[in-house]
Symmetry: C2
């Protein structure tokens, strides 16, 4: 037997902060741009969509499926789109996830630009190259990791974003603060949700900081040190509660973060006073910190969780605010914690 | 506006030449390997498939579709396959293309191993990371570029390969010789198809050489110099003829290579004597060099060809045997050539 190893290349992603969507014109041959967006974003920002062909879909989570992908692919075929074209996905995470997926598989990959229009999209979903669609009840079961050419941040879109979606996005921002950035945590503590809704410079700044955090976590994790797992802070219990009680994602992970704080306090020496600070901050941003839940049902879901490996779960705990670590927790211990402290 | 560029990493692919399929056991946690193969390969080599769960599909070109992908995904879900698993695709290009595609999209990418079992698979389809499925009449309209962990070459599989598939594979080998390797061309000229069918050392050697050629073309092209286009030698007319007359791929591109040789002679100073050498070599490997075809129908298909850009086609011509170059040919000139010399 004879072996050899062949090295393949990586690539670059450009971030354009504080830009206007009109700038996409400069970023690719304007004759070869097609936009994917959802009906809501399209109707609220119709004037931004006049220059290019637009594929509009009903961008709900329930529609984030292979069936919708097939529809988009047919529209691309009708438009005679080829590999020299760029698909620009303009919308929330549902749209950037589906746009990223379609761009990655159509003719083995056409060019991709992302213009996230929600707080969650700008600080989380659009960053890191992951995309996906749901298969039956399984979320994001199919997808790829595919680099966009660019992510463009146009804060004008936020003017039409419903408050509930601001709250949703702030759950991830607070997550970033908890796991990586004490200073940002303190800044957030001094302000509140309305401050950011009404202050474009402040939100612009905050979004940039969060992009840096998520980007550096993702890029570091390419060396497979598991950094990316930190982004699951609050998501283990959060996903289980989200699935059982159909809460908004932000609300569920807010509750999940509080559970992770309690477990951190119990087994990791995380200060009770810091746990209270996290609770206070979540409340300031209109996120729930507690829900009564069926402990057995939640535990059963956890055991099925995809982050399971063997008889334990990789759980993200806080050492202190701004400082997180992965800890393996056995199902046995988790059952005890679930029984006694939650 | 503020911009930044983020660099992402590339990766490695291992080639195991002259290996036994049993070795896949050593290349990944044996509890987390699942095999994808087709019914023909499975029944001819049943003893090679005893250690792992096997997903068997009807691996014909007509079945290379999203529907078959859905079936495979359901089987992976039933087997509780997660990202720590490896899918090993064992078969011809249909199987390695579909296996590569599924591995790239299932849970955003599980690990992939390729064990090509045809000459075309070993020298062409398994190399370079491209995969795909057909959409309606469009071939490989959807797919990704996804690196396997390894490509393992087990020449034992070739013992059951029908002669027609040997011939098919030699079309691509001769293509490689024409565009890149005069010495290999001369070696091939000294031998014939039966020599390789009956001489495992000779075919092993030849496959290795061809893997090196395709690999280096693909890796070079990551710098986007268009090297990879050279692999289309014979494929422009070849694909059109294949689609119209439903010839085997190897036969169609053999005819396509002869047409490309004639055009090279006409407009590129390629020697007529070398054109005759190519014709002679193709014949030695039981490939057709001529077919009467409907010139207008073929030309209409060419105009729709995906390698079209603007009003010309990027055509691969020979300067000499072993030395190819891309030349833009306008549709006008092509229509003339089609009329006058073909
Ligand atoms: N790929 C990743 O790494 C990643 C990370 C986190 C989340 N996600 C995915 O992101 C999705 C959630 O994203 P989301 O929270 O942005 O939800 P979303 O895409 O469903 O958008 C929420 C709602 O806001 C509307 N909307 C979007 N932009 C608007 C604007 N500017 N003005 C008014 N309305 C607007 C949408 O029409 C939608 O009704 C989920 O599918 C999740 O799986 C992906
Ligand atoms: N991804 C790429 O870069 C790339 C390049 C070239 C071709 N392809 C794709 O490859 C496919 C063609 O591949 P192919 O020529 O290997 O055809 P194939 O996969 O259809 O296999 C040909 C036949 O041989 C049988 N077979 C395979 N291995 C055998 C063995 N060892 N013994 C007996 N029978 C065996 C198969 O069952 C099938 O009937 C096409 O779909 C084409 O699009 C892909
Ligand atoms: Zn989240
Ligand atoms: Zn070919």
């Amino acid at each position: 037997m004879k072996t050899e190893a062949v090295h393949y290349e990586g690539g670059l992603v450009n971030h354009y902060f504080d830009a206007n969507i009109a700038f996409i014109n400069e970023l690719h041959d304007a004759q070869k741009i097609v936009i994917l967006t959802d009906e809501t974003v399209f109707s609220l920002h119709a004037s931004s969509f006049q220059l290019f062909p637009v594929i509009k879909i009903n961008g709900t989570e329930a529609n984030k499926t292979q069936q919708t992908v097939d529809i988009i692919i047919n529209e691309l075929l009708n438009l005679n789109v080829d590999k020299s074209w760029m698909l620009v996905a303009v919308g929330g995470g549902v749209i950037t996830d589906m746009g990223g997926y379609v761009a990655s598989i159509f003719k083995r990959g056409i060019k991709l630009g992302l213009v996230p229009t929600t707080i969650l999209g700008m600080t989380d979903a659009a960053i890191g190259g992951k995309n996906g669609v749901n298969v039956g009840q399984y979320k994001n079961m199919v997808g790829t990791t595919y680099r966009p050419q660019y992510i463009l941040f146009d804060y004008n879109f936020l003017q039409t974003l419903p408050k509930a979606e601001w709250v949703n996005g702030f759950a991830e921002i607070i997550k970033h603060a908890c796991i990586k950035d004490l200073e940002m945590f303190n800044t957030l503590s001094k302000n509140n949700i309305y401050y950011y809704i009404n202050n474009i410079n402040a939100i612009a700044n905050l979004i940039e900081q969060n992009v840096q955090i998520k980007t550096s976590v993702v890029v570091n994790d390419e060396f497979e040190n598991g950094e990316r797992l930190l982004l699951n802070f609050g998501h283990t219990f959060g996903h289980a509660i989200e699935n059982l009680y159909h809460l908004p994602h932000g609300s569920a992970i807010s509750i999940g973060m509080m559970i992770a704080c309690k477990i951190s306090e119990e087994i990791n020496g995380f200060y009770s006073s810091q746990k209270e600070q996290v609770a206070q901050l979540l409340t300031q941003y209109h996120l729930p910190i507690k829900i009564s839940f069926d402990k057995k049902a939640v535990f059963d879901l956890l055991v099925k969780d995809k982050k399971r490996s063997g008889n334990y779960i990789n759980f993200v705990l806080l050492n202190a605010i701004g400082n997180a670590a992965i800890q393996k927790i056995s199902f046995e211990q988790l059952a005890d914690l679930n029984e006694q402290i939650l």
